[in-house]
Symmetry: C2
Subunit: 594 residues, 2 copies
């Protein structure tokens, strides 16, 4: 996929540019090696983790530590760590696929994820050679475990509002850290914490703090709704002496690390959501095949089929979007020379490039997961409310995903915020494209897409993007700098853009599959694509209407509404019939398949 | 409200008839006595139940029994029991208001609800004088506690698929019951169970079974996702000898009792949902006023305001719908003479009359509740995931409401099912009205509602009903008897009808309030009405489109889509602005107010 001779795909550019399917990564592009490592992770969960899950849910974290060490022995913690530091230095796709497979393990997958992800990556990506040498080998092997400590009781979304302080001691050898970091995943057993503190109450900076340092302690385990297999505690820092060598990245630039690690955390959460959704789907379809009411397996009721069709088409959208995004990362970061990969700014920029996509994936996929587990419970009926059934835990475990790694609200706000910044800086010709579109409106003629497969869906994608651009352009014009306050508009635009991204991702993936495998073998993908595009487009229409009515009035509003009508006019497909068709295959397979 | 000289309002008739606001009951019509009893219940929860909630959540059911006895002493268990049998014989509104207020107590409110509702009502409504004399006084006082045992491991939605058997002994003095009833609320401590069993494996019949009878036992407490303060166990019946005098209602007519009690259970669940929603709202708005991020109380972010505006407008819809429905019951049952009230068929018919409204309320209000608690968690951020915070429990407690008293799927299916039956039997001129509407379509001209308050909303209500009727009529024509299989269409029509009912309920309530109190004092109600009607109508449009595309094709489809466009054409209001306005009042009040 990654064609190094072509220019990189700019972050957010999908809204204003077309792209051909051969430039995007899809799960059909997994190599044999990817599949093999994925299988290793899957087997590990099945054979090692799930049999102990009740113990893990009851906070027997010695088991967690042991399991993670075993994962280390299998190489499952080393994918993102460079070979130079005893890692495997594999591509982003590998570590993502492991994350997807691990998610079946519920809370334990968080222990894994926080360690290899937000815990270790700050050192992998932003550590200096000395720090990498000191920490990475033992993190890659699972000998030492890591955590990421940003949040505080008073600062969550407003991470930079942290109160934890650092000051250099008189000798200039150590920073003295004081403060409390709240809800730190892995805090119960982690050895290494990446801690953010303000030097002299001002310069936000990252530090590598070891549990062994004196003055480090942790609070009691939190009692949580779900992911009970994961450890969540307060990290207490009382006059902790951190050697100056443990300052991570640049002085006063902790936010560069914090936010870029969150970007990665977001797509990892999104890919974990795909794994969780597939798992919940499988549990549920199996249950529905087995449970009879009115002398009929409940899977055979058309209403249940409707649910399976919807769930699977959403999973397909989530899966297509996130692997496309991971492909972008791989393509971009794969281009960094060894030298560049040690340049903090270059690394940071290569991550920040796709901040929009990371946010889109984060909120979209976590909402698909919540949707799927919710329907999973519902299809289980009363059994779904009973802790004996795996879907009950899946429901509770899922809910946190819309809250951490930036709440879904914060991630929605970031989408237009980042677009506007990119436009301002001239990185994306957003305003120009928006102006051009407005001029085009007057002569707009409704088009008729052809009859060939995907013709209608491509047409909807094209118009979805135009609607997003139109709404964003009008809002930017109307409010100017004051737009910050119009959060509802931000959210609507984020939803439009997110649906457009997901629609395009499924269309391109299916198109690629058809080109490779033919139509016959791609029928299920085509069904998902048709269902998802139709439903996402309906949602876009609603969001756009609400936005236009809020932004415009009088004649302009009338004109814009009429433009919107032209953009949205199409003959809807019969999603009910398509869902039945898709469901029949799923019920037969007893799991999500494409 | 109840005007006994006018004809009763027929169940389901709202879809094809207009009604004036003075014929509907609204919360503004509560009498002083209603308010007083509501206050008693509220104080009881606040002062007696909530302080012990942690104990109750840990299954200390001796406390539950004691609390219920105290409620009995206060008269809070006696509202629905006739005075003749030591009850208070109050109206339906009173017991509903108590239910609303109790819901703040989470799982305990289920213990209360199962006792006074599905547990006691079978005897209140369908018992003979002897049975009433033997059981009701002690149930009304809380000396004895009741439960309702219909579900079995293999039969939930398909209640008539029960396997529990009864056979008359040789002496003809006792029925011998054998079987297992699953997930019986209150089973841990109830003294009296209304049990459904098939005599000779065939004749579905209700029995009053006492725990004291030999052969009665219960299984272990279930481990549930939520409502942990309620007891849920299997009721095991092994050669239980039930005196023939304890056969309840008519032999072989157990379903008349089972289903009509469920109808009542549905509106009670719906009114409980209103109480739960208000409680979750209050917890959340208080939290949001206290929590600062970015130096701002999070309640002040426009995005939070958007959420509050949506939540409150939905609560208003749920509240308006359910009290309207309870008013229908009160009006209808209040007309039964003392004699008629002892006639099982008359009682059953007076309940079954509003089966459609009960189902609509059940699924609509339980989904509003789930929506509100979900946003409640979200607004709490990470704190919403912590068991220390009341919203965490509210989230888990809420989920069951979409499952029991008939799953929301089953209740949705019942709507059109019941309509078609009523139409077939000539109880409602549904087909005639649908035909007339189809003929009207050709000459349809889009109308322009006026500018006065509620004009637009009334216009939307009128068209919402027409859309519902159109969709139902077309589906009935197209599929004929085979319509049973088209469950997706049933669901869409149920959603249209449900939204139409809720829209009409808020419009009439607000209109009534304006007539009584003037516009100025009704501003908040007007805002909710505008917001809710706009959003519900959008949903109706989507559901109708999907339905038309599934039912029709070719020229007819084109004609119907064009009719739909005419029905749906209107200038949308700016819901974003309205929600901000509504939210400002709510944030100031720190709770849901109207
Ligand atoms: C189980 C668990 C594990 C966690 N693990 C870690 C970890 O390992 N490391 C770590 O550092 N942190 C961790 N966190 C913290 C997590 O990242 C935060 O909970 C999250 O960032 C949200 O912050 P908050 O909870 O303080 O919510 P708040 O920031 O208080 O937000 C509350 C509500 O206000 C909204 N809001 C906030 N600001 C705005 C705004 N400007 N505009 C509109 N709405 C706004 C939010 O969307 C949310 O709905 C964890 C949390 C949990 C619950
Ligand atoms: C905490 C709790 C308390 C309860 N308390 C009581 C009580 O006090 N007394 C009592 O008698 N019962 C009680 N119940 C049982 C409750 O009423 C049932 O759980 C409910 O009726 C659903 O039945 P089920 O769980 O067997 O689900 P099922 O009937 O197996 O349904 C499973 C799924 O299939 C769907 N489905 C079923 N039939 C159809 C169809 N024809 N078409 C389309 N979809 C269909 C359902 O909607 C659901 O999504 C309780 C349950 C719980 C969990």
């Amino acid at each position: 996929m990654s064609n190094q001779t072509e220019k990189i795909i700019k972050g957010g550019s999908f809204l204003i540019e077309d792209i051909s399917y051969d430039r995007i990564f899809t799960p059909e592009d997994f190599s044999d090696e990817h599949v093999m490592i994925g299988k290793t992770a899957e087997d590990f969960v099945e054979n090692k983790v799930l049999p102990q899950i009740e113990h893990l849910e009851h906070h027997e974290f010695d088991r967690t530590v042991k399991l993670l060490k075993e994962m280390g022995d299998l190489g499952l913690l080393a994918a993102d760590v460079p070979e130079e530091f005893d890692g495997l230095g594999l591509d982003k796709i590998t570590s993502s696929l492991i994350t997807e497979k691990m998610s079946k393990a519920g809370g334990f997958s968080l222990s894994y994820g926080a360690h290899v992800g937000i815990g270790s990556l700050p050192i992998v990506l932003f550590g200096n050679d000395d720090q990498k040498r000191r920490y990475l080998p033992s993190l890659a092997s699972g000998e030492k475990l890591a955590a990421y400590a940003l949040t505080e009781p008073g600062s969550g979304s407003d991470a930079l509002g942290a109160k934890t302080t650092a000051r250099l001691n008189a000798a200039g050898t150590h920073y003295i850290l004081n403060g409390e970091k709240q809800w730190i995943t892995n805090a119960g057993f982690a050895d290494v914490f990446v801690v953010y503190a303000k030097v002299d109450g001002e310069h936000f900076t990252a530090f590598i703090v070891e549990r062994e340092f004196s003055g480090v302690s942790t609070g009691a385990e939190e009692k949580k709704m779900g992911i009970k297999s994961s450890s969540t505690r307060t990290l207490i820092l009382e006059d902790v002496q951190v050697p100056v060598e443990n300052l991570l990245g640049e002085f006063g630039k902790g936010h560069v690390i914090a936010f870029n690690i969150l970007n990665i955390g977001r797509y990892k959460l999104a890919v974990g959501g795909v794994g969780g959704s597939k798992n919940a789907f499988e549990i549920t379809v199996k249950y529905a095949n087995g449970r009879k009411q009115f002398k009929t397996p409940i899977a055979q009721f058309n209403l249940t089929k409707e649910k399976f069709g919807t769930m699977a088409s959403k999973i397909y959208a989530a899966e297509s979007s996130v692997y496309r995004t991971i492909g972008l990362f791989e393509d971009n970061q794969g281009r960094l020379t060894e030298e560049e990969a040690k340049d903090i700014k270059k690394v940071a920029n290569s991550i920040a490039e796709y901040a929009i996509e990371c946010s889109l994936n984060k909120f979209f996929n976590s909402e698909v997961l919540d949707y799927v587990v919710d329907e999973g419970v519902q299809i289980h009926g009363g059994y779904g409310f009973m802790q004996e059934y795996a879907i009950e835990r899946a429901y509770r475990d899922s809910r946190i995903n819309r809250i951490f790694e930036g709440t879904n609200e914060i991630n929605r706000l970031l989408v237009l915020g980042t677009y506007l910044r990119k436009a301002m800086k001239g990185e994306l010709p957003l305003f120009q494209k928006a102006m051009a579109l407005q001029e085009e409106l007057m002569m707009l003629m409704p088009e008729e897409p052809g009859d060939e497969p995907l013709a209608q869906e491509k047409y909807l994608v094209k118009n979805a993007k135009k609607i997003g651009l139109l709404a964003a352009g009008l809002a930017a014009q109307k409010y100017g700098k004051a737009i910050e306050k119009e959060q509802e508009i931000f959210v609507n635009i984020a939803d439009i853009v997110s649906n457009a991204y997901a629609m395009e991702s499924v269309v391109l993936r299916t198109e690629k599959a058809i080109a490779k495998e033919g139509l016959e073998k791609s029928k299920q993908k085509l069904l998902y694509t048709q269902i998802f595009c139709q439903e996402a487009f309906n949602q876009i229409e609603q969001d756009a209407k609400e936005t236009l009515v809020a932004v415009e009035h009088g004649d302009t509003l009338r004109m814009m509404m009429s433009a919107l009508r032209k953009f949205t006019r199409h003959t809807p497909i019969n999603v009910i019939a398509k869902k039945r068709e898709a469901a029949d295959v799923l019920i037969e397979a007893e799991r999500y398949i494409v």
